[in-house]
């Protein structure tokens, strides 16, 4: 029973990281209708921003998630203006190839600038654990979970309780209709892309504490994020939380209870994508 509970807690804790990493992608898919392959690399840039702030200025990664988010918000605004904006009305493949190109470029720029070796920071809470009977939890992933829930709640509040959120939802539902009622669609897209990228940067700053920063770190997260947004329903921000929970606990249970599960766990997200798509097509038939 202890093992079962610890596994459940492990999954729950990990789901915070997954939700944070996926929410930006869900936003981009839901509003801009583009699959942003560079989302993982935005996360990587966020992690490196937090790393350098920690190393050079001594800023805690928990604090630096604010400047990291702000930096990515501004930088991705530039990326949107110069590239993404021009393919939004083109066939979907164009956006896919464009963001893939951005991902490769960012990854290689990071290798050139920082080298391929992972970089790690240390914080006081990195090695602090909380114990409740036989269950042990790290403080750092617990903070990630709390931040994740807070950020997603904030996002939800913005989307459903503010005028800007209403505009974003209107554009997501019907771009032409939103334009006809006088909304500045391009500005909404810019804002959403920046917000989505900032969320990726926040996720990067949070994972820095547990796994460090490296130019190739984004790919693993973007794969998981794809599985999560497919499960949640493309663009469904509220579904991201429970989809993250299913993926993270699924992986934790496979790792714990399946022989050789350490290798098999990485196949869980493929299985979930496959299962979700088959189930949806069966239901629609």
């Amino acid at each position: 029973m202890d093992l079962f509970l610890q596994t459940l807690v492990n999954g729950l804790i990990q789901s915070g990281t997954y939700a944070l990493a996926s929410s930006g992608l869900a936003l981009a898919v839901g509003v801009l209708h583009i699959v942003n392959f560079a989302h993982g690399e935005f996360l990587m840039v966020g992690a490196f921003t937090a790393y350098w702030l920690s190393l050079l200025v001594g800023v805690d990664p928990l604090v630096s998630l604010v400047p990291a988010g702000a930096l990515l918000f501004v930088a991705s605004g530039g990326i949107y203006r110069f590239s993404v904006r021009h393919v939004l009305l083109a066939p979907e493949l164009n956006a896919l190839l464009l963001t893939f190109g951005i991902a490769i470029t960012l990854q290689n720029l990071a290798v050139l600038a920082f080298g391929a070796t992972p970089r790690v920071v240390h914080t006081a809470y990195q090695i602090t654990t909380l114990s409740l009977g036989p269950i042990s939890v790290g403080v750092a992933p617990l903070i990630t979970l709390v931040v994740s829930v807070a950020v997603l709640s904030g996002m939800y509040a913005v989307l459903y309780r503010t005028g800007v959120g209403k505009s974003i939802r209107a554009v997501a539902q019907n771009r032409t209709g939103a334009y006809l009622v006088g909304l500045d669609v391009d500005r909404i897209y810019l804002l959403t892309f920046g917000l989505a990228s900032a969320l990726a940067a926040v996720a990067g700053a949070m994972v820095l504490v547990r796994i460090g920063a490296s130019p190739h770190m984004g790919f693993a997260f973007v794969l998981k994020a794809f599985a999560i947004i497919v499960m949640a329903g493309l663009g469904n921000l509220t579904g991201v939380l429970w989809a993250s929970l299913i993926l993270a606990t699924g992986e934790a249970f496979v790792r714990t209870y399946v022989p050789g599960g350490g290798g098999w766990a990485e196949a869980v997200f493929f299985l979930l994508i496959f299962g979700t798509l088959v189930w949806r097509s069966w239901r629609q038939a």
Partner: protein, 398 residues
């Protein structure tokens, strides 16, 4: 007619003598292929720094065969598809006198064909897989400086024996990444540890770079072990050390064998007493190593902990010495001289022996190259073998 013949003979003799003289002054060119970009670039760049340090030293001392030695360094990205054209260019366009570098085993295997076609003199810095050894069977011009993979395992087994003798360690949990690096021969490793009397109650694969070890470590925790032995990459070092604490897993030692460690890991409190396998550390007490560290600091204003740097330095300096002794860049004569190498290097004494699986290959370092260090106070302190130990073994991780 006789006069003409005499003149022709004299001209021919002068020409031959002249050619020999030219040959002696011919600039020696060495082709170096390394992964300067991509995930293996840390090792590749360290090797480049070592080669350049050696080159400066060689040329300051008069060069090779009376001329400055020239190196042509190319980036193969550790990819066979890039390494093969580079190798072919070295032989057919640059007409180098020897080829070195060749870091990854996949690159080593990929050049077997072109090497057998052109038969250049090759000095390998890495490529530890026995597949490379078997591929180069009967090849007469290969000097493999790096130990083979089975040498690396021998060193691990010897260290485990040392732990058992010194501390009574008897149980080991193994985590290995599920790619070729971690999983090749893993069952043999477990069998060998059991044959040597160790209990291995937990062995599990993981996906390198996944960053989530909590479930695996939670399971490992159910088997109280003395040593957690993990085989993976630098990206796995921090998550394993941090998450072992998070789930309350407390082996007496965490021992990993990544090719390199994350930047800043040594300064992190979680790294304290984590043990690793290394071909060399800057804290090595060997005189040649101290000399190397001094030269490296003078040239780069920095220190290195990457063993590829002294390995590259060793390769180029021993090659230059062999060429100077041979008095010619001719590969047969250089091979003969290089085979006689008996030198104190930063990494220990270097002598070549016939390789175990393919005796035509000249094998340099073996299991004795490896040392075990522990991270302590932001440094890597060698703790085994005892003749290079710079500090006591800490048997109390956490």
């Amino acid at each position: 007619m006789r006069n003409v013949a005499v003149i022709l003979v004299i001209v021919a003799m002068v020409a031959l003598g002249g050619t020999e003289g030219l040959a002696q002054r011919e600039q020696v060119r060495i082709g170096i292929t390394l992964p300067l970009t991509g995930p293996a670039s840390v090792s590749g760049k360290a090797a480049e720094a070592g080669f350049r340090l050696a080159l400066d030293e060689i040329n300051k001392a008069g060069g090779v065969l009376g001329s400055r030695m020239q190196v042509i360094i190319e980036d193969d990205g550790n990819l066979p598809a890039r390494a093969v054209p580079i190798f072919t260019k070295f032989v057919t366009v640059d007409r180098v006198h020897a080829i070195t570098g060749i870091f990854g085993s996949a690159v080593g295997v990929s050049i077997v064909g072109p090497a057998k076609l052109h038969e250049p003199l090759i000095l390998m810095i890495g490529a530890a897989s026995p597949l490379v050894e078997r591929g180069f069977a009967d090849y007469k011009y290969l000097f493999h400086y790096h130990p083979w993979a089975y040498h690396n395992l021998e060193a691990v087994f010897n260290f485990m024996e040392f732990l058992r003798t010194g501390t009574g360690a008897s149980t080991i949990a193994i985590l290995y990444e599920d790619g070729p690096f971690g999983s090749t021969g893993i069952d043999d490793t477990r069998r060998e540890l059991i044959r040597r009397g160790f209990d291995v109650p937990f062995m599990e694969a993981f996906k390198s770079g996944s960053g989530d070890f909590t479930a695996l470590l939670t399971r490992a925790k159910r088997h109280p072990v003395d040593v957690l032995f993990w085989i993976g990459f630098d990206a796995d070092a921090l998550p394993i050390a941090v998450q072992a604490r998070e789930v309350g897993f407390a082996p007496r030692m965490i021992f990993g064998t990544p090719a390199s460690w994350p930047v800043g890991f040594e300064a992190n409190p979680v790294a304290r007493d984590v043990a690793g396998l290394a071909g060399w550390t800057s804290a090595s007490p060997l005189a040649a190593s101290r000399e190397f560290v001094k030269k490296y600091q003078a040239k780069y204003r920095a220190t290195t902990e990457e063993y590829m740097a002294p390995m590259a330095y060793t390769i180029l300096t021993t090659l230059a010495a062999a060429m100077n002794k041979a008095g010619t860049p001719d590969k047969d004569r250089v091979t003969a001289e290089l085979a006689r190498t008996d030198a104190e290097t930063p990494m220990g004494r270097l002598r070549f022996r016939p390789s175990r699986l393919s005796p035509s290959i000249y094998q340099g370092f073996d299991a004795d190259l490896w040392m075990v260090f522990q991270f302590r106070d932001g440094r890597r302190v060698p703790v085994w073998p005892t003749h290079v130990a710079a500090g006591p073994l800490a048997w109390r991780w956490r």
